[in-house]
């Protein structure tokens, strides 16, 4: 279980959190899911945070946007392998809200802490179990 991501994509997702600070950013990771649960990221897609009522501490990706991203990815032979978002002025740890709202089992949820506008830690969590016993598991990130 690991997340493999190119340096360019890694920097892009961290920069996204700095650009939207003090609001949360969000986006989709596209690539391939390996047999050993290694996610190889080949592209990232920035999304609009739909939670206009609470941009600083909540995020939501428009399902309509997800549908389009999933369809276009499939046409290129790619899958949705995970998502990313930022935690402005909070640690790069998952929150109870993150877990409650996570439904993409075996995909990763990458969180970047953005402190005073600068990206600090970035961590990845694999969503394991099923919906009634789901859990986030620490996941190694390999930046190539």
């Amino acid at each position: 279980m690991a997340l493999r991501i190119g340096k360019s994509e890694w920097e892009q997702l961290r920069r996204h959190g700095e650009e939207t600070y003090p609001h949360e950013c969000c986006g989709v990771l596209l690539g391939q899911l390996g047999d050993d649960r290694v996610k190889q990221v080949q592209a990232i897609v920035r999304c609009q945070n739909q939670r206009s009522d609470s941009l600083h501490n909540r995020y939501r990706i428009d399902p309509r946007e997800l549908v389009r991203i999933q369809r276009e990815a499939r046409e290129r032979g790619q899958d949705i392998v995970g998502f990313y978002h930022s935690h402005p002025d909070h640690p790069a740890r998952w929150s109870q809200t993150d877990l409650a709202e996570a439904h993409w089992t075996d995909c990763c949820y990458v969180i970047t802490s953005v402190m005073n506008g600068a990206a600090t830690e970035t961590n990845s969590f694999n969503l394991g179990g099923e919906d009634d016993n789901k859990r986030f598991e620490d996941e190694e990130i390999r930046v190539d």
């Binding site: 999933q70 109870q96 709202e101 986030f136 990130i141 390999r142």
Partner: protein, 116 residues
């Protein structure tokens, strides 16, 4: 019609990422889908048979909630997408559970530590 299965549900469809099904409504399509793959039923529906709130079903680019729900008609060349919702945020208290392992992030020339 073509039905696109999202990554987390593929384990219930024999790893098939898309399926061709024949049906005249979304409800018929979902019924056919869960009859072929019974383990999907629990993932898509509540015990009383309603689509789970976080399961979004789109016919082409339209959410069936704003069409005719499960009675929404579908045609042969339509694409039906199933996408679980994606949301979250720092809103509730961030987990401070002691993690079972600390994982180094490998990056040429740089390294990023984890939170204590």
């Amino acid at each position: 019609m073509k039905v696109l299965i999202p990554t987390p549900l593929r384990q219930y469809t024999g790893e098939q990422a898309s399926l061709e099904l024949a049906a005249s409504t979304v409800g018929e399509m979902l019924s056919e889908l869960t009859s072929q793959f019974p383990d999907l039923r629990k993932q898509l529906f509540t015990d009383d048979g309603k689509l789970r709130r976080f399961v979004n079903v789109y016919v082409n680019d339209e959410d069936i909630r704003y069409l005719e729900q499960e009675s929404t008609p579908v045609k042969e060349h339509d694409t039906v997408s199933i996408v679980p919702s994606v949301a979250g945020g720092v809103n509730a208290s961030v987990s401070r559970l002691v993690q079972t392992s600390k994982v180094a992030i490998k990056m040429p020339g740089r390294s990023y530590g984890r939170c204590p």
